[in-house]
Symmetry: C3
Subunit: 343 residues, 3 copies
């Protein structure tokens, strides 16, 4: 019996399968420091224990995207090792902040299957939950990927495509217990703009850019124990390029968006997302955002803001799709998320 | 209203302005480990809790230059985003060691202004203090930078050039409470040379060199939340080069100076410094030092040594300036600091 | 007197010399996070406090190779600064797990000397012990290196070549106190293969590959405070290449071997090892293993497995030496070690 993991193929997934992903991970101050080294992250709530305590939390949590990447990384060997494409995200919610010392693991349920008409591959929908050492959910989200078939003669499963919300309803967002922005320090946070200063439809060019190196995206991707070989092995593609993990682009764009969105402190919802074009080393990543929606919350001083975050390689900001409806070549990422912001 | 930060221009500074810089930062074991990964740092006091406790401290502090870079990094968005040049440092003192778990923030006061005769820019002098979570000063220093004007017609401010000491007087150096080198372990520290073994005027070639990569200096500069785009964005300059943060060169040279100055353990004063020439990826950084002064202190077994530390790209060691008085092309850095050394 | 360390030459070693190596080091969560960023390490015992506690330990130790690299790194300035070649390892044993907060130092004894017939160099054998803050041995091993003579006229020492075991006897392996694999969670560990599933002589191709960048191996090598200039200074060799620290290849191969050996959790013995060919940046490192031996232990549910781990640059897996008995050009490393695995 071969002892190495060749990954699952499309016919290996059954509707309702629950996959316990391997290698739980304790995250701590080291992961936080590396996040600050890898991305120009400046969110005060994730940088300072004192600032976070002043917002009602038990010290500074690890960045919400650290939680996402760690939980996501664990699913790769079971979900996307043979994936042709990462097609989308939906219904993502952060349930609990992750603090240094927490141990995370991931569990996915297969909630949809649809073989492609070419018979060579299919789409697998999974709902993934990240759990901490107390078996509490810290994060959950739906992801769907296109996976190759091993055996082209394997029968197609019954097609089940889950109904997915186009966005998390504001009322369903989970606000961390104790969060209170009534004493929020805008000076220390870095910008004066509060929830009321943002208008639906407003667009922000985040101005700055970062040119990405091979060593950096590999350090990041390994840190999340993401094993997809396309990110690490230069002999894997004919052109000798290593594909940059889409999550690296998400974190880079999010960090760049500090300049204009410094007070969009906590990510609480992931409504959708597409990796529009592949990203390679040497690219200078830029970002712009658009305010899609706003909502009040029950927490004192806390508003919710729904943002489209677009990462690009340059090009005109605020351009997204061509006349054919397809993403323009300079668009790397189109992400739709909810964040919490002081009123 | 544009929500992004375009930085301040010369006419935006007023004498006596106090700027509270954004994004406080909790530093911990992760920053320490990264410092050891980024620089060949071997100072025993900053490497071992046991060694530091044997010197009378509450465990190993974070490297003095971690404190400096974090405090400095916070000032960049307010002081040097539109700087043409970082002109100098003076009157820098370390007041308190920084321990894992401490939270640092920065406050600067404008103490001098002088418009250049060309009317296009001016020199801004600031005194920056780094404060911890107890509002204690951990570090302060004066820096002056040349900043562009936004509006060339803005009136010139009254010229005020602060009087700055050419060096911190030895009597004004602050020795960390409890520091005691009477049981200092020279074997574990790595070299036998004590304070008495160094003579004023003595020069030391630190022999070793490190070739710098893009990924490394960007990891370092982000770690200190320094946002200056010249360090990150390869599209920013016509030649496609990223300028290496001067503080990366300071830390590299300081770490290289272990070889010959292993017992110059703690930096307590920054008398002056010039970034003589820009540094780019691919450069092999080397260093030499010269003993400028020596002084006794009140702490048991502790002497102070004033050092010139010169980082170079090679060339003859101990050469600094040409006949025209200008720094030679191979000189990157000329730094003048006080360190503490066992008697 | 020159204050810089030129390293020891062959004639500087005397049989029985005990060398206390400099710069003790406190290791913590930061080193753990960096290890996960530098290598695709996925061993559950070293990733999760919860998993490790379930195996009877006081939380997750730092990777056994972190302990090895830190202890090894301290010996470099005294043992291998003028080494022509790192010839071999033997009789390595891990005595105690290393936990975050532990402080490590190294002591070596010269146990053998043999001048080469050319009179220009000689072989030095040292037994190195790594000690923690309680002066307990955490690791010991024998290493021998070829070192240049400074003075070719220095008399040859009496030749003493220590008798070294070709492998640690299974009965001499030290099992960490409390280790208990009876409740081992194979799902969370990532693979179902237990000790009984491996046969002596079995070979495993670990499939994956990682292409190495300059920044990465330098970050790693500095992290272990290894000062050998060949790893850092691109001007040191005529071809401008930086030689990658052999330990970087060891850790990379060990991490890649997760795929097929996920349950070979703890390294407890180092029987031997050769760095067969030099490794440079841009190389895609791959690995294969062979089961050399198996043994039972006294600890509940714990078996020992002796493995040959071979790192390569590609080429046919399971090929090692040519007809001339020499390592094939694509072989980087041939390491022989004992690991602990659930029964």
């Amino acid at each position: 019996m071969a002892k190495t993991n060749a990954g699952r193929f499309f016919e290996d997934y059954k509707l309702g399968d629950v996959i316990e992903h391997a290698v739980p991970r304790t995250v701590a101050e080291g992961e936080r420091a590396l996040y600050h080294a890898l991305y120009p992250a400046r969110g005060a709530l994730y940088s300072s224990d004192v600032f976070a305590a002043n917002c009602g939390l038990d010290g500074s949590p690890l960045d919400d995207l650290i939680a996402f990447h760690v939980v996501f990384g664990k699913t790769v060997p079971d979900v996307s090792l043979n994936a042709v494409a990462n097609l989308g995200y939906a219904e993502g919610r952060w349930h609990l902040p992750v603090y240094p010392g927490d141990t995370l693991r991931s569990v996915s349920e297969v909630i949809g299957l649809k073989q492609n008409s070419n018979g060579k591959s299919g789409v697998v929908y999974v709902r993934t939950r990240g759990l901490n050492q107390n078996d509490e959910v810290v994060l959950d989200y739906v992801r769907w990927v296109m996976v190759r078939k091993r055996d082209l003669d394997a029968p197609a499963p019954e097609t089940v495509v889950p109904e997915l919300a186009s966005a998390i309803a504001a009322a369903d967002l989970i606000i961390p217990e104790g969060l209170d922005f009534t004493n929020y320090d805008f000076t220390l946070a870095g910008e004066p703009h509060r929830w009321g200063d943002y208008a639906i439809g407003e667009q922000i060019d985040h101005v700055d850019g970062v040119t990405i190196e091979e060593a950096e995206h590999m350090l990041a991707t390994r840190l999340w124990q993401n094993t997809a070989k396309v990110h690490f092995d230069a002999t894997n593609r004919e052109d000798g390029k290593r594909l940059i993990y889409g999550g690296h682009v998400i974190s880079m764009a999010r960090a760049l968006s500090f300049n204009g969105l410094a007070n969009a402190q906590m990510i609480v919802g992931l409504n959708g997302g597409a990796h529009a074009n592949p990203c390679f080393s040497g690219t200078t990543v830029r970002a712009w955002s658009e305010v899609l929606d706003k909502a009040e919350t029950d927490a004192p001083g806390v508003g919710a803001i729904r943002l489209r975050m677009v990462a690009t390689t340059g090009g005109d900001p605020f351009t997204l799709r061509g006349d054919d409806g397809k993403y323009l070549p300079h668009v790397l990422l189109d992400l739709d998320y909810w964040a919490l912001m002081p009123l």
